[in-house]
């Protein structure tokens, strides 16, 4: 079991009314924003199950958009995000769906732009969230650790090539691939920080296509 923190118990300072449906939504939006790392043409927010049913009353829609625009969980702007100027920087819409195979509080960010990408995540309670899918890749990104995410070619030796460049302790490492020898994903949660030079050196490794360094979220 993960070693828990008292600060997690007596925080976050957040805009109400629900840690899972409001603060969780903002955090999912923030993680999706950091993953996408650019301004899209449009975003469709697909809310599932409880998120779909009670989302409007809990400001889940506002939270997802506000997070994607970079607002923190305690930003009073969440309340009237639809009226704020920054919300006009791209087109967005919300879809409300039911799918019993998905978590009660699941969301997809269907992002159009360069590139097109679908990011999926769940709000798992008390404001904790996890991004678990990027397009067809399974990932694990919970915002609690600085995390390095890679898309690379599935060939022998890649994990050691990447990890040998990392000087800090690795908290967890998850890999996934669709077809042997083709694209694969690697998600590395870190106990410390990585410098720009190290990230660049990993980016320059042969057969590494995409590298994203996603900083942990404020508690």
């Amino acid at each position: 079991m993960r070693q828990s923190s008292i600060i997690d118990i007596i925080s976050p300072i957040m805009v109400g009314p629900s840690s899972s449906h409001t603060a969780g939504a903002v955090r999912l939006g923030l993680l999706a924003r950091n993953l996408y790392n650019g301004i899209p043409k449009s975003v469709t927010f697909r809310l599932y199950n409880s998120y779909a049913k009670t989302g409007r009353g809990h400001g889940t829609d506002k939270g997802l958009l506000a997070g994607f625009l970079g607002l923190a969980v305690d930003d009073a702007g969440i309340r009237n995000i639809f009226e704020l100027e920054i919300s006009k920087s791209f087109e967005y819409k919300f879809e409300y769906l039911e799918d019993f195979n998905r978590h009660p509080n699941a969301v997809d960010f269907v992002i159009k732009g360069s590139p097109n990408i679908v990011i999926s995540g769940d709000s798992i309670g008390a404001g904790e969230v996890v991004i678990n899918k990027i397009d067809n890749f399974t990932v694990k990104l919970d915002g609690k650790f600085n995390t390095l995410l890679l898309i690379y070619q599935d060939i022998p030796g890649m994990i050691s090539k990447v990890t040998s460049k990392i000087p800090v302790n690795i908290a967890s490492l998850n890999c996934d691939r669709y077809v042997k020898g083709e694209d694969a994903s690697m998600c590395i949660a870190l106990d410390g920080e990585l410098s720009d030079e190290i990230i660049e050196s990993i980016r320059n490794l042969p057969s590494v296509y995409i590298v994203r360094y996603i900083k942990k979220l404020e508690s």
């Binding site: 008292i6 600060i7 007596i10 957040m14 109400g16 009314p17 809990h58 305690d74």
Partner: protein
């Protein structure tokens, strides 16, 4: 100091306190500092941030009667304050403050105001109402308030090792129930209780909230959550009074948490934040659902 990292149960915590002749917050802040790789003063600054935000939420809530998006709740704190002006509470001024502050915070939460999730947003008013009302009435110093909130945080942390603090997982016992147990710890710490008394306050508060369901009307954090917060703030005071008189819970605290975990698992999913039973499916609740188009 390394060993504090491994404190998983209340028994571990009690032994660590006894062996090192330290109180709960001293052990907890050392552990937190080590875990987060920061200094103890930095831990305490984080805790102070939460206390400041709790006070701000109370102040904002006291002066607002704006309704929530659903229009179901939002003006009861104003009503309560007017009531106390006309007719003072039987239990006196401190009681008035605790229930008023709790309602102020709960209502601030539902109108999308800024609150501290402690441990969750739905249970956000219980710890602040007790902490702020008691510290203001009794002249508890800022240092002692921070000690108290760290103590409360440690209680929530240990419970969360076993039970996820989410209504959808274990019902409201894991949200408002835990918040009440945390408040009992904070209050007992503020009143100079020893480690044993603090842990008994937690045990007594928690034991009497086992099985509390999460059946919110229309799936919103409003009915019954808003008014439940002041009730469970006062519940914490009862637990603390008994513990300070050296009343001991016959069932040890860790066993109570085991019972809570089991109860949460046995509780029907229909009573765990899915709004498929209980209060959420009463005749009036169904009418409200239809009115709100949910």
């Amino acid at each position: 100091m390394d060993k504090y990292i491994n404190i998983r149960t209340f028994e571990d915590l009690y032994i660590a306190c006894e062996k090192n002749e330290k109180t709960i917050y001293e052990i907890s802040q050392e552990r937190e500092a080590e875990l987060a790789e920061i200094s103890i003063p930095e831990v305490r600054i984080e805790v102070k941030r939460s206390i400041d935000a709790m006070r701000e939420a109370i102040q904002n809530g006291l002066y607002s009667d704006k309704m929530s998006v659903s229009g179901m709740c939002g003006d009861d704190c104003m009503r309560l304050q007017r009531g106390f002006e006309k007719r003072h509470a039987l239990f006196g001024r401190l009681y008035e403050k605790i229930v008023t502050y709790a309602l102020a915070t709960s209502e601030e939460n539902l109108r999308m105001g800024k609150i501290v999730a402690c441990p969750t947003a739905g249970s956000c008013a219980i710890v602040p109402s007790v902490l702020v009302a008691v510290s203001d009435e009794l002249g508890i110093t800022e240092k002692e308030q921070i000690d108290a909130l760290i103590t409360a945080g440690e209680v929530g942390r240990i419970i969360s090792n076993k039970v996820q603090l989410a209504g959808a997982v274990a019902g409201c016992q894991a949200e408002c129930g835990v918040a009440s147990a945390m408040s009992a710890a904070a209050l007992t710490q503020m009143r100079g209780g020893n480690v044993k008394q603090i842990l008994n306050a937690v045990a007594l508060a928690m034991k009497n909230l086992l099985g509390l369901t999460c059946d919110p009307v229309c799936g919103l954090v409003e009915i019954p959550c808003v008014k439940r917060n002041p009730f469970l703030a006062i519940h914490a005071v009862t637990a603390s009074e008994m513990a300070l008189a050296d009343i001991v819970s016959k069932i040890p605290l860790d066993e109570i948490i085991d019972a809570m975990e089991q109860t949460g698992k046995l509780m029907s999913p229909m009573l765990k934040e899915s709004s498929e039973a209980g209060l959420a499916k009463t005749k009036t609740a169904i009418e409200l659902e239809q009115k709100l188009g949910m």
